[in-house]
């Protein structure tokens, strides 16, 4: 009986959480087009609804009604299952991500390991898609993407070791609470090297500009999902944006103090304390999402050899130095 109650509560929580999450993802695509449009002195989508506000809904309907083309030369079983793997991996990471004190589906004590582990499974979706398509572009895109993601995953995981050294916990709620005693209520200043490494690695992990080599339109057309169409394509698209939200949330939780208000702001504006934590959390996540869009509108793409040397020759040594410095300071304080 108790287990049934637990299951019911979880399903309700997940329905609310995922419902709002999907809304955010849909409007992230709209926000991206608007932001990039304005950066390039265009207006972005303007036709569907006032200022194009209903554009994401129109897009969803269009993608559902599109034909699902499965080329005859593909490895059918792997080809059809690859987008599902990507989506499942991206979506399940949110099981442990808290949006405010106690507002989480399951507050497990190895939260950070779970997020990194499940997010890592997403790579399989991309490799499977690239391999099974039996198309040269998809194949090259898949290979590039696999090498890129595993290279930057090392840097990403190492940059978080500094945070764990400071927080002495894998639990995401605990990590947020530990940040209260540091300047601005964040790990941002003491972990500034770690944050830098994390942000660069998160751009590469989500295959975003300036590291969007797997998709490189000008040379690989669309990379690993060149053969996908209709709903399967949109599953990959969804997975990419979910991964961006996941990384933004992780950056917010680990470096920006999660849902807490920076203490100096409360001192200047005392009334600010009544704003609920989830608003702060979302603002910080939106900032990181904006960073993704902003960089996409501003930066050109790296070459492949540059990508590899940044990952292995700059980020990993930086992350190791960060670990050594943090552990010494933490030990003698």
């Amino acid at each position: 009986m108790d287990t049934l109650y637990l299951i019911a509560v979880t399903i309700i929580k997940t329905a609310i959480y995922f419902g709002l999450l999907m809304l955010h993802v849909a409007y992230a695509t709209y926000a991206e087009r608007k932001v990039i449009g304005h950066i390039q002195l265009r207006l972005g989508p303007m036709v569907v609804g006032p200022h194009g506000i209903l554009q994401p809904i129109a897009d969803i309907i269009k993608l559902i009604f599109k034909e699902d083309i499965i080329p005859s030369a593909v490895d059918r079983r792997i080809f059809t299952i690859a987008p599902l793997i990507s989506l499942t991996a991206a979506l399940s990471t949110f099981a442990v991500i808290p949006v405010s004190e106690g507002w989480v589906i399951s507050d497990i004590n190895v939260g950070i390991l779970y997020v990194l582990g499940i997010a890592g499974i997403g790579i399989y979706g991309i490799i499977f898609a690239g391999w099974s398509s039996n198309s040269k572009y998809a194949f090259l895109g898949g290979l590039r993407s696999a090498a890129q993601m595993i290279s930057y995953e090392v840097a990403l995981a190492m940059s978080l070791v500094g945070v764990i050294l400071m927080a002495e916990s894998f639990n995401l709620t605990e990590i947020v609470n530990k940040q209260a005693q540091y300047p601005m209520g964040m790990f941002l200043l003491p972990q500034i090297i770690g944050y830098f490494v994390f942000v660069v690695a998160m751009l590469a992990e989500t295959n975003r500009v300036p590291f969007d080599l797997p998709e490189a339109e000008t040379e690989l057309v669309a990379g690993y999902f060149v053969e996908y169409s209709g709903i399967r394509f949109s599953l990959f698209y969804l997975a990419e944006y979910l991964a961006m939200f996941c990384m933004s949330a992780l950056a917010t939780i680990c470096f920006w103090g999660g849902w807490t208000v920076p203490p100096f702001l409360v001192e200047i504006f005392p009334f600010i304390g009544i704003i609920p934590g989830v608003v702060w959390f979302l603002l910080k996540v939106y900032f990181h999402m904006f960073l993704f869009f902003w960089l996409r509108g501003t930066l050109p793409r790296y070459r492949y050899d540059q990508l590899m040397s940044i990952g292995w020759k700059v980020l990993i040594p930086l992350a190791l130095i960060n670990i050594v410095i943090t552990s010494i300071i933490k030990y003698y304080s």
Partner: protein, 126 residues
Amino acid sequence: MGSEILLRDKYLPVLLVIAISIAIGVAMLLVSKFFRPKRPYTLKLTAYECGIPSTGDTWERFNVKFYIVAIAFVIFDVETVFLYPWALVYKKIGFYALLEMYLFIFILLIGYFYALGKNIFNWRKD
């Protein structure tokens, strides 16, 4: 609270979320299957290679560097796996743990510089 109860309370929801995630993906595919047209013909079902007839198979040999990077990844990922529990408990163990981990990182750095010397992270031809 017994550890079994703890395990159930914390990890059953996680399992459920994973199941729901799969269900969402499958549901989207099914909904689309209901609405979308299906009009395949031979040319539509060929691999897209910019309109030029595709030659040969894709599943052939490719650059060995991808393998080497994968091997380097395994080594460094295992290192990270060791760093994580260490980061959690090194203060309780004391100075010994600090020194031990530096030794571990140092040994890995030797391997790292060997790999650098072998140019495995250098993807330029020249």
